[in-house]
């Protein structure tokens, strides 16, 4: 199995006025193709910052980040945007769907920005919604469906580009436990289908759905744990 992403000695320092905040202080790890990895840690451990860097939403202050063999730590805004649209599928705690757009429109949005023609976009989006069991909710607005369904729309959106990594940030944080388990089952299924998944969470039970858990503490990797 090839390596999908690799980070080397990543650090991120924020300057809030005169105060220097070291969110990440030198983190290195890699994820192989088809792996399901959890990043776990209490709040303030730097996991959100790490997720933003892995998701190409932010730059590291120092260190290197390779995604699909390419060094992305030196890319400019537009090139990062291109990587986001082609290589990353995001699933957020807040769902982050456009409330005024239909589910179909929401799911096809990444394809709009990667230049896929309208007709093909629609076909792919419908298929993607079918895959998460929402074939009958295509024309609904996000406000008209339940939280669990919203997160499934978000997963359909994350999958539509065939991303190298699916990046899930507390995907069950806004759901009740029963619905949360359904969503985790979907991730499990996606994993068995060969997708690479990185799950960011602070809940140990949820982290255990992955094969491997990376524990963060104070901007450093505390330990790595294999799930048996």
């Amino acid at each position: 199995m090839g390596i999908v992403m690799k980070i080397e000695n990543i650090a991120k320092i924020y300057h809030l006025g005169k105060v220097k905040v070291e969110a990440l202080r030198g983190i290195s790890f890699h994820v192989k193709e088809g792996e399901f990895v959890s990043i776990m840690g209490p709040s303030g451990s730097g996991k959100s910052t790490l997720m933003h860097i892995i998701g190409c939403l932010d730059y590291p202050t120092s260190g290197k980040y390779f995604l699909s063999g390419q060094d992305v730590s030196k890319l400019n805004d537009d090139q990062l945007a291109l990587f986001r649209s082609k290589k990353i599928g995001f699933v957020f705690q807040q769902f982050n769907l456009l409330s005024r757009a239909t589910n179909l429109r929401n799911v096809e949005l990444p394809l709009v920005y990667s230049g896929v023609p309208a007709r093909e976009r629609k076909k792919l989006a419908i298929k993607s919604l079918q895959d998460v069991g929402l074939a009958d909710r295509v024309a609904h607005l996000p406000n008209e469906i339940s939280g669990g369904q919203k997160q499934r729309v978000a997963i359909a959106r994350a999958l539509i580009n065939n991303p190298s990594i699916i990046l899930a940030d507390e995907p069950t944080g806004n759901l009740d436990s029963k619905t949360g388990l359904d969503i985790l089952d979907i991730f499990q299924k996606l994993h068995t289908e060969g997708n690479t998944i990185i799950l960011v969470t602070h809940e140990p039970d949820i982290a255990r759905y992955a094969q491997r858990i990376i524990h963060l503490k104070d901007g450093l990797i505390d330990r790595e744990e294999m799930v048996v």
Partner: protein, 406 residues
């Protein structure tokens, strides 16, 4: 990409119809006002212009100027004593662009018929007066050459004057007395004129017309006329006729500084009128343009609010792969759509306003293409100009911060 941005922009505008409508209202009113005002300006100018040309054909009026005496008094030596019949004949002879010269003698008198008395102007003139003034006889005939030679005491009444004196009965053949400085003259009414309206020399409808010789020799015993009406051979030749008359009078009257006479042509009046209406249109158009500008500021305001309100949307779009350019164009297209749709509605609105104003003011409705293009172009410019800053603000947002925005 621009087409894609336009589509996204329209979707978001349509999803918030009320706000979109309110923000384009300023542009609607601005564009509508520009078009309506320019239309009113050109329409009313055209009406005034046509009524001035209607006054007469290629008419040029020549008046004596009172010479200024000492202490602001009107001098004893008025140039009017130089305005003789002979001078008129010479002007006709020596000015090739002038087809004819009609001398007139204006007298104020008291008209008496039965128990009706009224003061009115009595104008001694010649037959050519009709042609020069585009004036027509309603009933009977006008004074003619024969009347002038014979000194017939015949009179033709303007329409208002005839109505005042004779009410409903026909005045033709009636005897009319006129009291001029205590002396009574009796005239036979031979004609009544058609209604004409205002003119350079006052309201023709309230005057009466008699043979020039009667006015000069019999009533006033004077050899001077009050003014000349010159007719140019064609409208192209009118300016030439004016300068020929001017040069001739300067030489003949030995009047280098044009102190003894005044020449007033229709062109001159038209120029004055159109310069006044142009200034008015320009001023009102300026006010309308300011309202367009204010409309633009309104759009910017709404766009800024919209960008802040949709920070999270911008973050989502960026996370899903939108580049800064995509976001910039999306918001630019939104403001451009607002201003262009507003502009189109404004054109319709201005057209309707112009239509009703022209009905109300009774002038022809004229929508000039230039005003439409200018107003619409300005609206588009404003959409881009005032949309650029909010769009840039949106495009430059950091995706991490934008996603965190509540």
């Amino acid at each position: 990409m621009i087409l894609q941005s336009l589509k996204i922009a329209l979707e978001s505008l349509l999803s918030n119809k009320m706000r979109s409508f309110l923000s384009m209202l300023g542009i609607v009113i601005g564009v509508g006002a520009v078009i309506a005002i320019v239309s009113v300006g050109t329409g009313s100018t055209r009406q005034v212009t046509s009524s001035i040309s209607n006054l007469g054909s290629n008419m040029i009026n020549i008046f004596p100027r009172m010479s200024r005496g000492m202490f602001g008094q009107i001098g004893g030596t008025s140039s009017q004593d130089k305005f003789s019949l002979e001078l008129g004949v010479y002007m006709e002879k020596f000015c090739p662009s002038v087809s004819q010269i009609i001398p007139t003698k204006s007298i104020s008198g008291l008209f008496i018929y039965d128990d009706v008395n009224t003061n009115a102007t009595l104008l001694g003139t010649k037959e050519g007066y009709l042609e020069v003034n585009n004036y027509e006889v309603e009933e009977g005939r006008f004074v003619n050459k024969f009347d002038d030679e014979q000194g017939n005491q015949v009179i033709v009444l303007g329409s208002d004057l005839a109505a005042d004196l004779f009410e409903d009965s026909s005045p033709i053949g009636k005897q009319l007395k006129i009291n001029y400085q205590g002396k009574i003259f009796v005239f036979e009414v031979v004609g009544v004129m058609k209604e004409k309206g205002g003119s350079l020399a006052g309201n023709l409808d309230s005057q009466a017309y008699i043979p020039l010789s009667v006015a000069m020799d019999r009533i006033t015993s004077s050899s001077n006329v009050s003014s000349y009406i010159a007719q140019a051979v064609s409208s192209d030749k009118a300016p030439a006729a004016v300068s020929e008359l001017e040069n001739f009078l300067i030489k003949t009257l030995d009047d280098e500084n044009k102190e003894k006479f005044r020449i007033m042509s229709q062109d001159e009046i038209l120029d004055t009128v159109s310069s006044v209406t142009n200034t008015m249109s320009l001023m009102l158009g300026g006010i309308a343009a300011i309202s367009l500008l204010v409309g633009g500021i309104g759009i910017m305001n709404i766009m800024l609010v919209s960008v802040t309100e949709r920070t999270r949307e911008i973050g989502i779009r960026k996370a899903l792969g939108a580049r800064n350019k995509n976001i910039l164009f999306q918001f630019l297209m939104e403001s451009l759509s607002l201003s262009s749709v507003g502009g189109i509605i404004g054109i319709g609105f201005g057209w309707i306003a112009a239509y009703f104003l022209s009905k109300y003011g009774n002038w022809p409705m004229v929508i000039s293409n230039i005003s439409v293009i200018l107003a619409f172009g300005f609206a588009l410019f404003i959409g881009i100009f005032f949309g650029l800053y909010p769009a840039m603000k949106a495009a430059r947002m950091n995706p991490v911060d934008a996603l965190r925005y509540e």
